[in-house]
Structures are given as structure tokens and as C-alpha cells.
């Protein structure tokens, strides 16, 4: 079945490499997607803190648009994935919220009857495509590449449907199927601070520091992420978060970039050049051809 692809705002900005590499993986694995027609911002965590009711209505517009096309939604951004899921839960659980949302949708000729599944690419790759099928399509095994899998908060918490809340392993399995070595990473679901780096910088840096240091200590060559904000936080502030005694420098990639690489997508199409910490030296050192 065709799915509606819901990129979310970040994948059109700082997370551009996520979109490019995700679409490349979809192509390689033969997953048909169609961008959700005229999608709007889900409200993210920010709208929720000012005006919850409105934020549910905003998210519901996307759900209703997908329902009209009879499609499930694939949401790669962690915040979008959570907000869309949360909206579904709250519409089910609270009649008042349902009333507010349905009335708002009715003003623009939309309806929502809870017939849409909101899914994450991790879920789709692992459970629809399967590890065997992915391993069979690998043309450039990521041999010798040690990866720290970082899931962050909002993929598995609080509504984990496809993975464990405390110790998720879906990305570990996918990366191993691509030939990479996954290093132990106990902080895999610890928060990166979200937008704290912008609003309360010292505290944001504190959270970022431990996540990177832990990955380096455990011997990782790179950190794989599933969320545009996590990727941004971990990649862009390494210099500030490190110190002279403990410098931090490690490429931070989207898990889809690593998968696309293994599946043979040309490097130019998966946004490797968009990294601020260069990736090419690492790939060259591991003798992974990326051209």
C-alpha cells in the first residue's frame, strides 16, 4: 500500500539530509510514498506548551488529509511522529478534544474517523521490509564502521508501538543488517535537550556534552540519529560542548544516510556534504567507497 510521506518543517531546513537520504532508501527498497498534499506544521512541542487544543486541531488536519487519501502516514521527524500519535490518543480519550477538533476540521470540509496509522520509517523498514530483505540489497556493507545508535526521546516514548521504551533496538538491527558494528550506548534514549540549546544554552550544552562523550568513550566512529533536532544539537555544538582536555569531534549522521550508503545510493544524493563535521575522511579510513 502506498503511504503518505509527512516530512515536517525541519526536513525542509536543517534536516534536509534526512529527507534526501530517506527518499533514497525508499527508492532502494521499493517503498512507494507520496508526499501528503499541502501538509501543515504539526505544532511540535512548542505549540503544545502555549495552546494544547489548537495544537491538536493543527495535527488533526494532517491526519484528516491522509485519511481522505486512504493512506497511512510515515513521519520521520521525532516531534511530528509523537505529536500525530498523541493527537490520535487524545482525540480517542477526551470527548471535549474530539468535539473541538471535529468542529475545526468541519470548517474546512475535512473529517477524521481514526482510520490512519502514523508510522516511523524505523518501523516500516524493520517490520514491513524486514532485515533479510534489507541485508540482501546491501551492496556496500559498512564493514568496520562503529556506530552509536541514538534514538532520543520521542520515537519510543511515551507511545512505543514497535520497540521497547527503555532499550529500543530497531535501529541497532537495521544498522547491523547493513554491515555496521553497533557499539553499546546506554544513553540511547537520554534527552538531547531539544530546543534548550537555543533558549537556555548552558543547560542544553550540558546534555549534549554527555551524549557525545559517551559515544566517543565507547569507541564509536559516528552517531546515528532518527530526529532532525537531535542531529542538529549533537553535530553543531561539539566545539562548545568539548573542552581542551576533552575535545569532542564525531560525525553525526541520520540512520537513513548510513542505510542509503549501504544500499548503494550515490553519495551526492544523500546529503553527506551537508554535515558540518566532515564524513568523507571517516568513510575513506574505513575503505567504504562512497562516490
Amino acid at each position: 500500500m502506498k503511504c503518505a510521506y509527512y516530512p515536517g518543517c525541519s526536513l525542509r531546513g536543517t534536516g534536509k539530509a534526512y529527507e534526501e537520504s530517506l527518499l533514497a532508501v525508499f527508492r532502494s527498497l521499493g517503498i512507494e510514498v507520496q508526499e501528503l498534499d499541502d501538509w501543515n506544521c504539526c505544532g511540535a512541542t512548542t505549540y503544545l506548551s502555549v495552546d494544547e487544543l489548537t495544537s491538536y486541531a493543527l495535527a488533526a488536519r494532517n491526519l484528516a488529509l491522509a485519511e481522505r487519501e486512504r493512506m497511512d502516514i510515515i513521519a520521520p521527524c521525532a516531534a511530528c511522529y509523537l505529536v500525530l500519535n498523541k493527537t490520535q490518543h487524545y482525540i480517542r480519550d477526551y470527548p471535549d478534544i474530539k468535539t473541538v477538533v471535529s468542529r475545526a476540521l468541519a470548517t474546512v470540509g475535512l473529517e477524521y474517523h481514526d482510520r490512519v496509522r502514523v508510522r516511523h520509517p524505523l518501523d516500516v523498514f524493520l517490520n514491513d521490509v524486514g532485515l533479510k530483505a534489507i541485508a540482501a540489497k546491501v551492496v556496500r556493507p559498512l564493514k568496520g564502521l562503529k556506530v552509536a545508535p541514538y534514538y532520543g526521546c520521542q520515537i519510543v516514548r511515551p507511545y512505543a508501538t514497535f520497540d521497547d521504551q527503555r532499550n529500543p533496538t530497531s535501529m541497532d538491527q537495521l544498522l547491523e543488517a547493513c554491515g555496521a558494528t553497533v557499539v553499546p550506548y546506554p544513553l540511547k534514549t537520554r534527552c538531547c535537550g531539544g530546543s534548550q540549546k537555543g533558549t537556555l544554552p548552558e543547560i542544553g550544552l550540558h546534555l549534549i556534552r554527555y551524549l557525545i562523550a559517551e559515544a566517543q568513550k565507547n569507541g564509536a566512529d559516528t552517531i546515528a540519529t532518527v530526529c532532525p533536532l537531535c542531529q542538529f544539537n549533537l553535530e553543531c555544538f561539539q566545539k562548545e560542548a568539548g573542552s581542551q582536555r576533552h575535545p569532542l569531534s564525531i560525525p553525526v549522521l541520520y540512520f537513513t544516510q548510513l542505510m542509503a550508503l549501504a544500499l548503494g545510493a550515490p553519495a551526492a544524493t544523500i546529503g553527506l556534504r551537508r554535515s558540518l563535521v566532515p564524513v568523507e575522511p571517516l568513510l575513506a579510513a574505513k575503505e567504504i567507497a562512497y562516490a
Partner: protein, 196 residues
């Protein structure tokens, strides 16, 4: 020397606030709180908070409105949901933090130029105007209103991101923007009508 009473009196409580918190969405189970502290233990930010999540739960259900709404904790919460997953009584702590933020913004319980409410406000304005968020514009607007000097220190990073094609200068906008405006107005009208 400024002397402050360190013990709270029952008379300081606001019973309306206590009623509100246990009737708000997500607050249904706050009375079940055992004060076990798993929320504070799992919270990655509790070490910076004036009241840890456990204390905040207790203070709010007892109605200590001033203390709760002027607490730094509600702004430090990043909504990572660690507490909610840890809570043995399945109290929707993260959601309560959202509710408290909303209330604190409503009643203006925050320092001037505090960036979090400013960002939230600008975010909402951008959604109403464009239907989508363009991160570069959002960041610019927030810093212009809170900490202009930080724009300078961020400009290096901004330039690097721009060169990597990660900071589009053009604002993204949906086609049927009028639908968003109509929906926002409808929510406001229904909220008034049902007094939510």
C-alpha cells in the same frame, strides 16, 4: 539580610488551583501520586530544577500556585517523557508540565525577555501566517526579541548551515493557508462556547 519564611502554611494554598490541576487534561491521576520519586530520578534536568518533578506534583495538587507557576522546573522540562514512562501510577507528568506552562504564560509568571514563551509566541504566529515553520526565520525572530547579542555569536554557525543548504532564506508556506486560519478561529470559538 532578607529573611524569608521557609515553611509553607496551609493558608498559602489556593484551593482553586488544586482543583484545576486535578481536572485538567492529563491531571486525572495526580491524586494517586505516591511521592516515590522515580520521575525526579529519571528526569535528565531535575538537577537544575528548583522543585524536582516529584515535589512539583505534590505542590500543585496541594494548591501552592505561586511556588509552582514561578518555578524554573516547568520551563526546564523538554518533554522527553522519561518521567511518564517511569511513573508506577501512570500519571501524565509531561502533560501536566505542558498545562503548567500554558497557565504560567496566561498569568504572566515569567521573567521579562525570557526566551521560551517568546519562542512559543513567535512559533504560533508563524504557523498562523504560513502554516509551516521556517527554522531560520523563527530563530532570527526569537533572538531579535530576547538576546540580540547572541545573534552575533550564532552568525558563524548560521553561515555554515546556509552554505550546507540547511538554512533556506525563502519562507515555506502551504497553499491553503486560509484553512489554517479558519481552523484556529474555530478552535477559539468552540473553546469559548464550551468554556474549556
Amino acid at each position: 539580610m532578607e529573611l524569608k519564611r521557609t515553611v509553607k502554611f496551609e493558608a498559602d494554598r489556593d484551593p482553586e488551583f488544586a482543583r484545576w490541576i486535578s481536572h485538567t487534561v492529563g491531571g486525572e491521576r495526580i491524586r494517586h501520586c505516591l511521592q516515590c520519586g522515580l520521575c525526579s530520578a529519571s528526569c535528565p534536568l531535575s538537577l537544575y530544577m528548583d522543585y524536582t518533578p516529584r515535589r512539583l506534583m505534590h505542590l500543585s495538587r496541594e494548591g501552592f500556585k505561586e511556588e509552582v507557576l514561578s518555578s524554573s522546573s516547568i520551563w526546564l522540562c523538554t518533554a522527553c517523557y522519561a518521567c511518564m514512562v517511569a511513573c508506577p501510577k501512570k500519571i501524565n507528568i509531561t502533560h501536566l508540565m505542558y498545562a503548567l506552562k500554558e497557565r504560567a504564560i496566561e498569568e504572566r509568571f515569567y521573567p521579562k525577555r525570557f526566551p521560551i514563551p517568546v519562542m512559543a509566541q513567535q512559533f504560533c504566529r508563524m504557523v498562523r501566517g504560513s502554516g509551516r515553520i521556517t527554522e531560520s526565520w523563527l530563530i532570527l525572530r526569537v533572538f531579535l526579541r530576547t538576546a540580540i547579542w547572541r545573534l552575533l555569536s550564532m552568525s558563524g554557525l548560521g553561515w555554515k548551515l546556509f552554505r550546507a543548504g540547511r538554512m533556506p532564506a525563502r519562507r515555506d508556506k502551504i497553499q491553503r493557508q486560509h484553512e489554517i486560519v479558519a481552523m484556529l478561529d474555530s478552535v477559539a470559538a468552540t473553546r469559548k462556547e464550551l468554556a474549556l
